[in-house]
Amino acid sequence: METESAFPVVIAEKALHTLVCALQKAGYRVIGPILRDQAIVYDELDSVADLPQGWTDEQQPGSYRLKKRTDQALFGYTVGPHSWKKFLHPPHLRLWSVSRSGNEVRFSHDKTPIQKYAFLGVRSCELHAMAIQDKVFLQAGHEDAGYHQRRNDSFIIALNCGEAGGTCFCTSMKTGPQATSGFDLALTELLSADRHEFLVEISSQIGANLMHDVASREASAEDLATAANILARTAENMGRHLDTKGLKERLQDNPEHPRWDEVAARCLGCSNCTMVCPTCFCTSVEDTADLAGETAERWRRWDSCFNSEFSYIHGGSIRSSVKSRYRQWLTHKLAHWIDQFGSSGCVGCGRCISWCPTGIDITEEAAAIGSTAPPPEDTS
């Protein structure tokens, strides 16, 4: 995304419709939040009318509930069970197929056309999650070509959060709530009794071109101040907090902390946390064939370090206990990830807390591990 220093503009709520139409006309599948099965999920939007207007969510460990808002906000909720990784890093992906005819064997790469996506309503934590997955999938020499193309083709409309959820802690991870990079356009919803508008920051040439067709006015100092106030209020209302100071060392130095046993007693080993995590990237491959053995396919699918087979090597599974699996996940996410990729693997979105059926809270567990570590040497 090229950066163009354009002044922020303000558009009317109705103008969002024009923007979505322009994206669809440009060949994008527009993906955004929609209401389904009592949750706000990400799926294709036909129009802005599909957005969950007037809804919000209440999230606590192991609990997610939708509630009606008293206003008509279009983005008055936080993140739900889905993340954008399901589009950029699909749960099932055919890698290649092979066919046999006599003694001849022919391999072919998957030729399914790659979709051009426009993502509407991407939160700052989610932009950071995308940047983290970029490090995984776009490493020189190990690049995932399909991911690269999906990522390059994506048009991203970020959303500065106007609400903080009960399980949010992006301020602890320094990943939000304000979108600062990695988007084409960034919206802030400006809603009060007498106005419903969006402040739009334009961050790419494609974004600027699209905005040409959308009625807008230059943002005033007052608009900017209102948006800044919204973000400040969101930052103050985080439902969770994680102290990251010395966290990597505290986790890496405490592999036998009694807390691992306590959390394992509550952990179902069900893998939900890893599936909803926007940075968890692990996969396994599976081969399928027809009964005659004439054609076969290799598929990649999301896998999880909470599954026994995930750590299976010759002779058995390395991590047979739930305790060892939880410890692997937490220490990788918050500690070893830093050694491996140069940043934490956690963006503070809170999904693993909300969508854990027993409500295990990563911020509580991380805080507890190491809390009873031997005190520092007495230097007096």
Partner: protein, 262 residues
């Protein structure tokens, strides 16, 4: 598991023990693939499908149903002896089935109440999985089994590879499909977190909790899930009945159900 590499088609047999026939019907239900199945294997013994019954030995035996009578306890040994590879299909064959509810009670009392002449009933005190009687080469879970998984097992066996029938939770299947968690978002008690995958999360996809038809997943934490059900308002009896269902005699489910006895 053995690999078939002989020039002639492997001989397939399908056997029935105490069961509802639903699992063997899954094979007949493979309408589009049945021709390919019959081209890949010789269907040598399948009473539900054909009166033409060939004698053994068989390369592959699919066994449905549980052992509930002295006669069947003998018969399964004969079948094992005449089968190179023996695969059990469905909750009855792999865990004892719904009829294993008898294992928690007195069968003699049942027969006295139900039958005019209980002396004619020759039954065992328990319903047990096939693996309690003979060596089983592979178990395919489900009540009923998923026909796609059955084809996967047959195909994998024909080509000498491990079948893809992961032992992870049903939650994985929900999440791969993008299904919203009924437990977290609706407060619906669900057995998905402790249940073996394979059904493609059929019930949660229709906004119902998982019934545990595929039995326990590997390493299930039934205790933590039962505690969560209680928090959602489930009574002890509800929890006991949830674990004491089609897979009541599967060890992990049995033990959890016993913790919720009155």
């Amino acid at each position: 598991m053995k690999v078939f590499q002989q020039p002639v088609k492997p001989k397939l047999a399908v056997w029935k023990f105490a069961s509802c026939d639903g699992c063997q019907l899954s094979l007949l239900d493979c309408e589009d693939e049945l021709l390919a199945v019959s081209e890949a294997v010789e269907i040598a013994y399948f009473a539900e499908a054909s009166r033409a019954m060939q004698k053994g030995p068989y390369d592959l035996s699919l066994v449905e149903g549980s052992i509930t009578t002295p006669h069947d306890a003998e018969r399964i040994h004969q079948i094992r002896r005449s089968s190179r590879v023996l695969i059990t299909i469905g909750a009855c064959a792999t865990a004892g089935g719904i009829q294993a509810l008898r294992n928690f009670k007195d069968v003699k009392e049942f027969t006295r109440v139900v039958y005019a002449h209980p002396e004619y009933i020759d039954t065992l005190k328990t319903s047990t999985p096939i693996s309690h009687h003979v060596k089983v080469d592979f178990e395919l879970r489900g009540c009923p089994i998923n026909k796609t998984q059955l084809l996967e097992v047959i195909e994998a066996l024909l080509h000498g590879r491990k079948p893809n029938t992961p032992a992870h939770s049903v939650c994985m299947e929900c999440k791969l499909a993008g299904t919203v968690c009924v437990m977290v978002a609706h407060g619906t008690p669900c057995l998905g977190p402790v249940t073996h995958a394979g059904c493609e999360a059929l019930c949660p996809r229709y906004n119902r909790g998982c019934f545990g038809c595929y039995g326990p997943k590997e390493n299930p934490n039934t205790r933590a899930l039962a505690a969560e059900w209680q928090r959602l308002g489930a009574k002890q009896m509800t929890i006991r009945h949830a674990f004491r269902n089609f897979n009541a005699w599967a060890e992990d489910f049995r033990k959890e159900s016993e913790k919720h006895e009155p």
